[in-house]
């Protein structure tokens, strides 16, 4: 099977060029063709010699793959199904909102983390995506070119596949790559601390942490990761980090009826996040089959938001999008295709 060029960084492309007996600058030309121009085959790289293209074609393929299916929600959200190199499938959501088009990318086939409220968690873990497979979810959708924001909030835990995630961020934000601003990219994690610190070191993208309850015992029952990396430790590390003026940290908080929507939770959240310049994104729970959790009513959600705002914590309620096609938060899954 041929190796894929798409997903390689500049250094790798230069090494490939040299190994094929081509000039080092061919690596930069390859990066231009891969990440700046809308072509899909090596033969279309018209500023490379015929010999260079033949050498490349012998060992490599371009490496992008089209989605095999697309579903469109009543609200305009789209859900794309992509095949992976391991003969598995992943899903990607594209959420339009006025002028903005946000792509929600997956980083793994399935997920190991087993959160009680998440559909992806219910399919277990089937494999890691490569950097190319992550970036391909942006490159190969119809809206490519109009994308304003990227969120790593699809299938999988990004910090459990950090090498590929960092490499994909490098491709998206480097001058030789897509040259996107890292301020348009948010990576969401449940808080695997060593990987989180490496991410903070090695990228400039925003960080979002899945919080969901400030109480240890309660979080442990919702999110098994709490046993290994308690949220208090995650927040302590974040508090000690200098995010600068431009970089943001936010906390995701899915509201569950009668479970984490009480005044006690507000008080504890205020205490937990004290001193951190952050935002809380409140998310309606989208029912997952077999999960004994429910979403509170709109009034409770809005009250929760208002009470946090009254305590000087910026809180917003995230709009539910794509629920009718199972593209909303926590609903992505390819279990039936395993």
């Amino acid at each position: 099977m041929k190796d894929q060029l798409f997903g390689k960084d500049l250094n790798e492309l230069q090494e490939i060029s040299l190994a094929l007996g081509l000039p080092k600058f061919t690596g930069k030309q390859l990066a231009d063709w891969l990440y700046k121009k809308e072509i899909s085959s090596i033969d279309e790289m018209s500023n490379l010699s015929k010999n260079a293209r033949e050498l490349l074609n012998e060992k490599y393929e371009f490496g992008i793959s089209a989605p095999s299916k697309v579903q469109v929600s009543l609200d305009g959200t789209k859900k794309y199904l992509f095949p992976t190199s391991q003969n598995k499938f992943i899903e990607t959501a594209m959420i339009p909102d006025d002028e903005r088009k946000t792509v929600c990318v997956s980083t793994q086939v399935g997920c190991k983390m087993g959160c009680l409220f998440c559909m992806t968690g219910k399919q277990g873990f089937q494999g890691q995506l490569t950097a190319g497979e992550i970036v391909n979810q942006i490159r190969s959708i119809k809206e490519y070119g109009d994308i304003s924001n990227i969120v790593y909030m699809g299938m999988g835990e990004p910090f459990d596949n950090l090498d590929a995630v960092l490499k994909s961020l490098d491709i998206l934000t480097s001058e030789w790559g897509y040259a996107m601003s890292p301020r348009r990219i948010t990576v969401s994690s449940i808080g695997i601390i060593p990987a989180m610190l490496r991410f903070l070191n090695e990228s400039e993208a925003h960080l979002a942490i899945s919080l969901h309850t400030p109480f240890d015992e309660e979080r442990r029952k919702l999110m098994p990761v709490q046993i290994a990396y308690p949220i208090a430790d995650v927040v302590r590390e974040i508090r000690g980090w200098d995010f600068g003026r431009q970089r943001r940290v936010s906390f995701e908080y899915i509201l569950f009826k009668g479970l984490n929507d009480t005044p006690l939770h507000i008080r504890e959240l205020v205490k937990l996040l004290s001193g951190i310049r952050c935002r809380i994104n409140l998310i309606r729970f989208h029912p997952v089959p077999g999960t004994p959790l429910e979403s509170p009513d709109e009034e409770t959600i809005n009250n929760f938001r208002d009470q946090l705002n009254d305590k000087d914590i910026i809180a917003t309620v995230r709009a539910s999008r794509g629920q009718d096609i199972y593209a909303a938060c926590g609903l992505l899954s390819t279990k039936e295709l395993i």
Partner: protein
Amino acid sequence: MFKVKTQKMAKAEEYSRSDHELFAVKVIDNVEISPDVFLLSWKQDNVFIPGQVVKVAIDRSQPPRIYSVCGGNIDEKMSILFNIKEDGYLTPKLGAAIPGDEILISKPYGSFRGDHSPAYWIATGTGIAPFYSMFQSGLSDHKILIHGARHLNQFYFEEELEWAMGSNYIRCCSNESSCNVFPGRITNYLLETNHFPKDYKYYLCGKSLMVVDVRDLLIANGIPYENIFAEIYF
């Protein structure tokens, strides 16, 4: 292109370098109890609650990984059970450790804790470790241990567990068969026996798919999710 900021890098390195987090101990035993599965031990100097975990590293160049303590809380040794991941950075080195070598560990911590109340202990593979710790710590009364594995040689500590727990020790093997071993996965066993006492706690430890499948099955059979305690290997 990302710029590595030296000051911030120091902060990240601090996590794996900080003295209060990791300290050196000398390996006193490293036994291959099954092909590519090792029980590695050092002198126990820390009080712990059975079910808790420790962070383990071979040196300070890589972040530690987390393992359940696998042994009793009154033992002279503290142990971990691990299998070799060929592409891993840690387990091949841990597998090669010999008595006298130094490794780095943290103090035990974590909230996956056993107690004396009636419970099911459900594990796959090396997920048996926290339950073996609970067993060795005298917590096996009113417990039912269900261990799932692909192969018969993956029922670690089976002689000891079978002798002590008798019919409350159930093995489920998905790829091989033997007398006294249920042929199939843990979920098949639970469905077949169809016995889900509501006044028991359910502790699950192992790979994510087993944990989420068993958790869903328990919830579907009326077990409140508050009574389900899950630890996932990642």
